[in-house]
């Protein structure tokens, strides 16, 4: 098994990790690496097993099977205190009876570092997370964002092998979240500590991660760069969880994707068997609406449709288009402001639907079709 070999240069390697609580499988054969200066985001719905992965890496939970490696060293059987991970808990878990300095010093005191070294580290970290004015305050006297920065400084103090963030922005309001995650990304890139970040917020995942691992009930559906995950989702789940997507069921016929009215030429890099059931995945922003027979060059014509409704949602316009399929499938398209000004749409209007970019995924839930069965 090639996969089972640890990647020597990786800061964190998770190999074949599975976990059951009782009879329910919570993690199913998890494999991934985190490079030394990389931020990997674990993205998944509630209950998909994100926290469990983090707890297994930090040693707070034992994996059922599989191995955990930190900087090439197998730590699977090492207790949490000997692993040297830095965990930033969702509720921060700052020690309430210790002030900011004492919280930061705790890991160093446990390691019996000298007084002067501890003092130096505190000074450096307090400056780094901008808490100079709050050194003597207790956690209850700090705001949520400040508490979180203490939690990060506290974990950084003892130079952890890896930083593990469990939804660190969960308790903060939207505006602060956005600025804090930029701040943290900048910080992590400066200090080059490998990090794993949990979130179920897709915007956060896209902005924060060097790579995103999308988790679906205990399995990693895809792990890739934000761009790759967004433009080339490996599964329907990934496509719909990260961003929104129109899904059209169909079947492969030669070099085309067919579904009732729709016939779409597929790029040569797809390797499908004839008759393979498939799903067409189109992002709303990759759909182009025009007057009939007026499609621009680089667009493939999908079909014609009728505008059902338009709604203005801030930066863009959302358009619902009914397709002439027997079940009246609806597509959602979004158009930027420049578009809406040039070509106004109203309900009932006939339009040509073009696509500039799309994905075709094999549909493994349906059996291959034979020529005479309708789709």
């Amino acid at each position: 098994m090639l996969e089972s070999l640890a990647n020597e240069s990786a800061a964190v390697s998770i190999r074949d990790v599975s976990k059951k609580f009782g009879t329910t499988t919570v993690l199913d054969d998890i494999n991934f690496d985190v490079a030394q200066d990389e931020i990997v985001v674990l993205l998944g719905a509630s209950g998909s097993g994100k926290t469990t992965i983090l707890r297994i890496i930090s040693g707070l939970e034992m994996p059922g099977t599989g191995r955990v490696m930190l900087h090439g060293k197998d730590v699977t059987n090492l207790p949490a205190r000997l692993r040297g991970t830095g965990v930033i808990f969702q509720s921060y878990a700052l020690f309430p009876k210790m002030n900011v300095e004492q919280n930061i010093a705790y890991g160093l005191k446990l390691r019996r570092r000298s007084k002067s070294e501890i003092r130096k580290t505190i000074d450096r970290l307090v400056g780094m997370v901008h808490l100079e004015d709050h050194r003597k305050k207790y956690p209850s006297q700090l705001s949520g964002g400040q508490q979180q920065r203490v939690a990060i400084a506290r974990a950084l103090a003892y130079e952890p092998e890896v930083l593990l963030f469990d939804e660190p922005f969960g308790a903060l309001d939207a505006q602060i979240r956005a600025s804090l995650r930029r701040e943290i990304r900048k910080l992590l890139k400066e200090i080059k500590v490998p990090s794993i970040f949990i979130t179920h917020d897709q915007e956060e995942a896209l902005e924060l991660g060097d790579r995103i691992a999308v988790l679906n009930s205990g399995r990693i559906e895809q792990i890739a760069t934000p761009y790759e995950v967004y433009t080339n989702p490996a599964t329907e789940y990934v496509a719909t969880f990260l961003g929104s997507a129109n899904i059209i069921e169909g079947v492969i016929r030669g070099r085309t994707f067919q579904s009732e009215e729709i016939s779409l030429e597929i790029p040569s890099d797809y390797d499908f068997r004839d008759g393979q059931p498939a799903k067409l995945v189109i992002r709303p922003e990759d759909i182009f609406l025009r007057r009939p027979e007026n499609l621009m060059q680089n667009y493939q014509q999908l079909t014609e449709g009728v505008v059902e409704e338009t709604s203005f949602v801030g930066a863009f316009e959302r358009v619902g288009v009914r397709l002439p399929t027997h079940d009246g499938q609806r597509l959602i398209a979004t158009r930027p402001k420049t578009e809406t000004a040039a070509f106004q749409l109203y309900a009932g209007q006939r339009v040509t639907v073009g696509v500039v970019r799309f994905r075709i995924l094999p549909d493994l839930t349906r059996l291959p079709l034979h020529a005479n069965r309708a789709v």
């Binding site: 707070l60 830095g86 808990f89």
Partner: protein, 279 residues
């Protein structure tokens, strides 16, 4: 400004309910609590401070007070240390029979103290269960000694300390201990640096409650101690004995001391816990 405000309030009319309810409350509390307490002080000092002092410094009285304080002290030490341990085990580990154990530990609160004393006698006493099982010569003679008083104190007060400490454990954020572990702490270090500081208030509360209750314990003590003056007679027993002998003044002097002690303990509980529990 403030004159203005009170003017506004006045235009709404005089609120008769407020003084009325305060009066009713005091009228009820007066004969129930306040007057009896006041009587101790009024009566005790009626013959002048000198005779009060004389009654207080009688050797038997001093012995009784000392015995009460010493036995209560050891019961308190036991309750805090073992109450902490029991609460830790019972909230940390889930095992078969855990809830039954919690109920059993808390049960003595609901048992009449005389029954508690009687139960101890039946276990340790010369004809008790232990003697029957192990043979009389193998059972230490602790009934009718200070040890018996400590045992009775513990029996009666342990649920108090446990009841104060356990809820703090239950509501404690386990991620604090997990954070400490990931930062490199052993269990002992985590307990000492993280768990214990959060328990300071509860420990002090448990200790004071235990002590206050133990110092005043009567029902169980009178059964297991033998009530021997200057040997196993605690302060409450002394009050009872002197009163029975008609020496009301002697009884009263000690009563004053016990009342003041309770008052002091209650004040500490009231003010210090707030202080200790602020994060």
């Amino acid at each position: 400004m403030s004159a203005n405000l009170s003017g506004v309030r006045h235009t709404r009319g005089f609120d008769i309910v407020k003084p009325l309810s305060i009066t009713v409350m005091i009228a009820v509390m007066l004969p129930l609590v306040l007057l009896p307490l006041a009587s101790i002080f009024i009566f005790g000092t009626a013959n002048g401070l000198e005779s009060f002092w004389h009654a207080l410094t009688a050797p038997e009285a001093i012995f009784a007070l000392k015995l009460s304080i010493v036995t209560s002290f050891w019961a308190t030490v036991f309750n805090v240390v073992f109450g902490l341990f029991a609460a830790y085990v019972l909230s940390k580990y889930n095992f078969w029979g855990r809830n039954a154990l919690i109920v059993t530990i808390s049960l003595p609160t609901a048992i009449p103290t005389a029954v508690a004393g009687f139960a101890l006698l039946l276990l340790w006493g010369p004809y008790g269960t232990l003697s029957r099982v192990l043979g009389e010569e193998n059972v230490p003679e602790i009934m009718f000694t200070a040890w018996a008083i400590i045992l009775a104190n513990i029996f009666v007060t342990f649920p108090l300390a446990f009841g104060v400490i356990k809820p703090v454990f239950d509501t404690m954020n386990t991620s604090l201990e997990e954070a400490s572990a990931t930062m490199g702490a052993t269990r002992l270090q985590t307990f000492w640096h993280v768990t214990l500081p959060s328990l300071r208030g509860a420990l002090l509360g448990g200790a004071l409650l235990t002590f206050a209750r133990a110092v005043g314990e009567f029902g169980s003590t009178i059964l297991v101690s033998g009530n021997l003056a200057s040997r196993t007679q605690t302060a409450p027993l002394y009050i009872f004995a002197k009163f029975n002998e008609g020496q009301v003044e002697a009884a009263n002097a000690i009563a004053i001391v016990l009342a003041l002690l309770s008052f002091a303990i209650f004040s500490i509980l009231f003010f210090a816990r707030d202080y200790l529990e602020t994060d």
